[in-house]
Amino acid sequence: MQPLDVTRRAGLIFLSYRFSQGAIGTQNRLLLLLEERWAPTLFAREDLPAVRREVRRRVGSYFLNDRLHPAIALPWTNGKAGPASKTEAVVTNELAALFRRFEHREELVPASPDPVALAGSIVFMDDGYLRRSQGRNSNSIELRIIRESRASDPWHSVFVAHALLDRPTGSREYDLLFGLLGSEEVLEALPTVDRRILSRVIDRYNERQDLRPAHRVRLMGTLEALV
């Protein structure tokens, strides 16, 4: 296995934000599995400062752009109504916490590179969005998150698109990862509760008007296998 260069390592960490959909546990599992199977040098000491710098640039440029990332978290604790704008400090705190977790692996103990657990947590996050009345376009009162613009696809499911329908992720490593998550072996090992959630996510995804017939057939097959 070729060691990854700085750009590839940073790219994989950046994409972990997208595919974990805001869940730290999911992100930990994603990165642990990537590291175990396809990217052993992901957090290697060598060039780590350069990797951090590149991740900061990518995550910051994306997160601080309201068009690309329209979700804004409101303050939890006080009733003050100042604008909850996204700042560089939010990016700094977030990335510092991520790199600190992977420097002190004991903080990751509850997470493991288990693909079944990872599949379950991605499906769980998909379901959280798709159960809202307007899918990914909805604000979340309980999470105190507002959206200032519309998602291009409010009914997108990370798991269905990439693990079940093989939509390319733009990264070879993530393509392999989602290939594993969508394998019969992993799907069969999903606990009952996760199967039920995945069925619900597939049902929602199936309601899309623009779904290709071949994809619909595939999803129906998966659905039958789950129940």
Partner: protein
């Protein structure tokens, strides 16, 4: 001595010059993040409280620098800086982000009992505009007639200034909920003298409170004035009274004092035009929020929603 308006105009002209000339710092992610922690404590010298406060400032500065480093940034920690140190930070175009930690107000950082680093110092030392953020981790009191935020004129984008606007700030740690009173002070790019004069503006902070952005809120108020101006006396008086009733459950002394004025204006409808009443409602709401005597909570949102429904 120049009046505060002259000082402001001078600073603004300088800012526009730098802007037009394209004198920028490094980008926020490439540039250095300077963390400036003041050595001034307002506790008695050598008291345990003084030592605790200074240790807290330094600890906070170190933690910010550590996190910046871990997150791929380039920290520069200045513990107990001199005035010249801060001048250099402001003049160094490799520095893109600046944190101030210490005692102070929205417009200044205390350096010593008789010395403070002020917004004019920032403005006069600025040789370029920083493309990053400025975080003022000192109290954000509006203690003057003109309350220009300390770091405002060093920033390329005024919307990147974060401070504890009109609030005390003494967080036990970087992650303590007390940090949530740090807020973006300016929502728009326009810097106008009146924005910073006590009582004349809310710094655009109505965005969340009103349930819509400040621009829309101001547009609504303008509509209200137009409606009030164009209606026949009776209808306009009814409108104004309805609005006043809807504002009436606001319990602050400030609004109450305005309410008395509104009441007296309405009592003699011949002498008071409705647009004057509407103006007073406008002022009362803005000022109450500005002085933070009204928590900008559900109550404010309801009132804003009512207002939107009426106009």
């Amino acid at each position: 001595m120049a009046s505060d308006r002259q000082q402001f105009d001078l600073a603004l002209r300088r800012w526009h010059r730098l802007h037009s000339a394209g004198r920028w710092s490094a980008s926020w992610f490439d540039g250095i993040t300077a963390v400036v922690t003041s050595s001034f404590t307002d506790n008695p010298p050598d008291s345990p409280a003084a030592h605790r406060e200074l240790a807290s400032f330094r600890g906070e500065g170190e933690e910010i620098a550590n996190r910046t480093d871990l997150a791929g940034g380039r920290p520069l920690l200045l513990l107990d800086p001199t005035r010249a140190d801060i001048d250099r930070v402001i003049q160094d175009d490799e520095v893109a982000n600046v944190y101030f930690v210490g005692n102070g107000s929205l417009s200044m950082l205390w350096m010593a009992e008789t010395d403070r680093y002020d917004w004019q110092d920032v403005s006069s030392n600025t040789t370029h505009l920083k493309q990053g953020w400025c975080y003022q981790r000192q109290c954000g009191g509006l203690t003057r007639r003109l309350n220009v935020p300390l770091g405002l004129f060093m920033l390329a984008r005024p919307t990147r200034l974060v401070a504890a606007l009109d609030d005390a700030f003494d967080p036990p740690s970087l992650d303590h909920p007390a940090n949530e009173c740090m807020t973006v002070v300016m929502e728009g790019q326009h810097m106008v003298y009146d924005t910073f004069v006590a009582g004349r503006s809310d710094f655009g902070r109505f965005r969340q409170a009103a349930g819509f952005d400040q621009q829309t809120f101001v547009a609504r108020l303008r509509q209200l004035r137009d409606v009030a101006d164009n209606r026949a006396d009776e209808a306009a008086a009814t409108l104004a009274r309805t609005l006043m009733e809807r504002f009436a459950f606001d319990s602050t002394g400030f609004v109450r004092s305005h309410r008395r004025l509104i009441d007296s204006a309405l009592a003699d409808s011949r002498s008071a035009t409705v647009s004057e009443v509407a103006r007073r409602l406008d002022d009362a709401t803005m000022n109450a929020a500005y002085l933070r005597r009204v928590p900008l909570d559900q109550t404010t949102r309801l009132r804003a929603a009512d207002l939107a429904a009426v106009v």
